[in-house]
Amino acid sequence: MIITVESLTFCYDSIPALRNISIEISGGELVTILGPNGSGKTTFLKCLCRLLKPKAGYICFDKQPIWRMKPKCFAQQVGYVPQIHSPSFPYRVIDVVASGRTPYLSALATPSKEDYEIAYQALEAVGCRELAERLYTQLSGGELRLVLIARALAQQPKILLLDEPTSHLDFKNKFMVMHTIKSLVKKGVSAVVSEHDPNVAVASSDKVILMKEGNVIAYGKPDEVVNEETMKILYDMHVEVISLTNPQLKFIAPKMLNIQ
């Protein structure tokens, strides 16, 4: 599915969060948004999944403006994994994952056996089937992330929007989650992910969007976009990009700040 964003502008009250963003994301790609805190990554994702209505500009999925789609129809195509979620009641994990089936249910229905089967498969896909019967309130931060990703998978969407899916995750799980997302992308899903760690972004994405103060600074393949100059602009920090040959990988190392 092709995502077209045209002169998208969004303000919180009078504070602009996104300034005139135009971008086109082709289908079947993993696109990562990199940017410092408060640069508009989350706002951008929320606009993409219709949680926020832009002040100006439009967003189309396959040339169809998203605000003209029916909510249910939209939710069958777009899965969203929020950044923070504070669970209020001790539900079973599998029920929370099954809530991803809601866009396919009629108003009075509860999920069927098949829906639960899909939910179990989704948990399996993120590698935590054993969490199914646990209580949602007793999960660790990392497990919670994986469960929320599983729920988005249970939606069987064509587009996945993930807001910092790797936060709270350990060193290995960070890459594991990105790997999982990548394997979904190979099956034809498009994914837009916001991310804090440039190394994770470079290692796994097809394209990278660099965002600062609500503007897109650069957009393209990680090799072309992520370099010493752009990182300096993005984070106000000197870095050194080290190229590894085996595996072929770029590594962004911070040149330590002068702390005495």
Partner: protein, 309 residues
Amino acid sequence: MGFRSNSASFLLLVAPLLALTLHICVGKYPLTPTIIPTLFIEKLSGVSEHALEQLVFFIRLPRAVMAALFGATMGVTGATLQCILKTPCKPIHTRHILWCSCGCGSFTSFNLGVISTEVSAFAFALLAIFLTLTISRVRGSLSPVSIVLAGIIVSALFQGVLTLIQITAQPENVSAIVGWISGRLNAVSWNHVLLSMPLALVGILGVILLRWRVFMLSLGDEEAKALGMNVERERVVVTVLASLAVSSVVTAAGIIGWVCLIAPHLTRLMVGSDPKRLLPASLSLGATFLLVADALAKSIWSYEIPVEF
């Protein structure tokens, strides 16, 4: 898991029936449970020899049915409102339910025979719902917090009206008003039951049928929206259904507030927060709970204690 859940379902089915039997049998004139089927058979076959028939069919049974209906309604709506307002915390929650009750309250006593009490109590309940939803919309979105806060405002307003009515009422009416405020299951007749039954059932069944939506609302607005739900509309629908059920039983039987607190908590302890089973289970537990409580209220003292205490 399978065995436990099966036996729990069985228990939830049987418990209200047992409680109902207990409720019918207990009282100033205790009955043995075995007489109830005999009475039913006699009633159906038209032979009425037992003097007990009057007692059972016109005094005990309506009260028992009303208690069960009241308990069920409060159990289900309590659990529902807990979910959609995301407040397991109790005080705010009670207040919120009571606004509706108070709406009715102001009326039942206020009305002095102009139109029927039930109709006007309903009108007040609807007014209370309308006010709450309107006030909670003042700042834009219809969030759980704003509904709860608006509920407190409206509840305070009606509480005030109710006090005013008590002060200005004729002395002979005051005792009736106070009786109503503390729950008056003892004064219930078939008329009350028949009047409140349809709307209470519509409300209860409606909410139970919508239980997956109720679960979704408890996950959080953003989540529910991202999963294609019209959060505000569904919250209004569920709130209105629950309020209708509550106001219809409160009109008949007065204010018995605490069932809606205890039943859902008890249910969560028993069946966990299973979204499919929480509401049906709280129906059963709410009914059982009030039946047992009312059976106690009418039997442990020579004078009947209002069940609210």
